[in-house]
Subunit: 359 residues, 2 copies
């Protein structure tokens, strides 16, 4: 609706972690750069990659994304590349790679967020933007990392830390600006939602989890998904971001779905309702924010009751609009890589503004 | 997530039409200006109002919003006010009021969009921004009006023309930038959706419509709602905006719900599905866009099947994210007034950028 000027820009990026998500981003880069140049005004150039298994590589002129994706590197395989090493020296890569932007997609550590928090801090302190899909550093250190970003004149963006590419944070903060978000409730874990769906289909909890594991929806240790710990991190991120809270994970009450029995499921169905694992937070009268994770029996007509399988959804409760719900994928390689792209678009738009301002 | 500088600004606005929506905007202005100053960086000042029934008034220093809302004006009542007239001289008001921005909320004319198209054109040609919730001018003349806005260095914004305050246009264009929208399907008319729900509850079509009329959900002549003509205008707006089409209303096939019988409803339920009036459009292989409005039998697990009552929803089909659905109010006085506020926020953010650029 608004007219934007297009500035052509190349962002040199370094990928920290080369698992499913960053590999999917490289796949997109291999094919989408011409489209992004035309529609978004920038292209992406991978100048460094670091991965615990594969090693690390810096290439100031850029690595070929297609080769990176298609080469079937063995352990330490980046050591064979020019500028490569069999070791993943994340700190050196982050601090010295000639990158404008660091893409952090290593594993989530729910205790202290490390080493991802350090990855983000090193990058921001070096004057590099950070985009991440990693819940750990956002749930545990967003406030500090935002301050470091601000002090260094760069951006810290993390849309994919909550619902993969489904843009719940930007929808709440940008497109619903002025609507006055008072609270939210969401289905924020696809694994537990799939398990509940299979229990409605007649399986008991253990059998449903086993099926989810066979289908690749649940990990060997499903605890984080079914006991609500994954949802709790997402509740912390959303509460702190959308409601201005400063919650820590341990301040959010957390109950999972493992105690639900087949008769609980049947009783809910008999009452025209179904169990969902709901993560929620609300701003109280006194300005404090309370978050919780718990199975809830939702009537069929509840906006979250029809959210099936691995799909995620968040209903935002607003002063001016009432309830607005966004529903979409909560996982997926390409879907999560899109979250990184959406973060880079946000940075690009802010940068374009700053450039015009300086001109 | 991004740091924005706050510039304090007052926008002088003129309200064209003083029915439910613009009256609700005035209600918000009466109480929310201090909050908006703090959180959004601007306040709104009503310098003119024009209404077919009440007359018109220009007050360069601003009218008191609270008085406007609470005074129980009779026909031609604005004539009693300083700077007022018992006649609604829209053209003079739009062209001469000392307003930065015109808020167009008169009635929707589905044939040629008039007189709203002229209201918008006059305003834009006078160098005034336009925000509107009026489907008519957007469905019929968006391309022309956007060109006039561009030529005059002002903005034409119309989020509320499709789903009231639920931000489907900005979500698709802004927060889903780069996700590559390929098509959409939506429940875009609350009246017909309410009627279908009551038919599922056992009523026949005529009785359900009568109930909707008694509850104020349907107009005396329910044709536009139940025959799909209202949805068709919204499909045109979304197809042209999100898919780059240039559809005219008559190019969108249109079938309503009046021919659905109780046995159609029962048969759907027996097949674990329900009828919904679906407006949709898709970009074809050859780049053309096809739009349609038709009742569709959706399986219960379809993302739109659980959208009940007067709620609206649109599922966007995207290349990188698959299906993303936004669900929220599709009507309501305050909800639609919020759409106008969201348009003004978008203009303000663009203006703030332009100002910094010029500095």
């Amino acid at each position: 609706m608004l007219h934007r000027r297009i500035h052509m820009t190349t962002y040199n990026i370094a990928l920290i972690g080369f698992g499913g998500v960053n590999r999917a981003l490289a796949e997109l880069i291999a094919t989408k750069n011409p489209l992004w140049e035309r529609d978004l005004g920038f292209r992406l150039n991978i100048v460094a990659v670091s991965d615990l298994y594969l090693g690390s590589v810096i290439s100031p002129n850029g690595l070929d994304a297609k080769t990176l994706v298609e080469a079937n590197f063995a352990k330490g395989g980046f050591g064979q590349l020019s500028g490569g090493s069999a070791e993943a020296d994340n700190e050196t890569i982050i601090k010295t790679a000639p990158a404008d932007l660091i893409v952090e997609a290593t594993f989530t550590n729910p205790k202290d967020g490390e080493p991802a928090v350090s990855h983000c801090r090193w990058a921001l302190q070096s004057g590099k933007h950070v985009v991440t899909t990693n819940k750990g550093p956002v749930a545990i250190a967003a406030q500090e990392l935002k301050a470091v970003a601000h002090a260094n004149g760069v951006h810290f963006e993390y849309e994919g830390s909550v619902m993969s590419g489904t843009p719940v944070i930007r929808m709440a903060e940008r497109t619903l600006a002025g609507a006055e978000v008072k609270g939210f409730e969401g289905i924020l874990n696809g694994t537990s939602n799939f398990v509940l769906g299979r229990m409605e289909g007649g399986l008991d909890f253990a059998t449903a989890v086993k099926e989810a594991q066979i289908l690749g929806y649940a990990e060997a240790d499903p605890t984080a998904d079914v006991e609500g710990f994954d949802v709790r991190l997402k509740v912390v991120i959303l509460a702190n971001e959308l409601l201005g809270a400063s919650l820590k994970p341990e301040e959010v009450t957390c109950k999972g779905i493992s105690k639900l029995s087949p008769s609980d499921i049947e009783n809910a169905a008999a009452a025209n309702s179904r169990w969902k694992l709901v993560g929620s937070a609300v701003r109280n009268e006194d300005g404090t924010v309370t978050g919780s994770v718990s199975p809830k029996q939702l009537p069929f007509e509840h906006p979250l009751a029809g959210v099936n399988g691995a799909t995620n959804a968040v209903s935002l409760n607003t002063e001016l609009l009432g309830s607005v719900t966004i529903t979409g994928p909560g996982a997926g390689r390409i879907e999560t890589a899109y979250a990184l792209l959406s973060d880079i678009i946000a940075i690009h738009n802010a940068q374009a503004t700053a450039k015009r301002e300086a001109a």
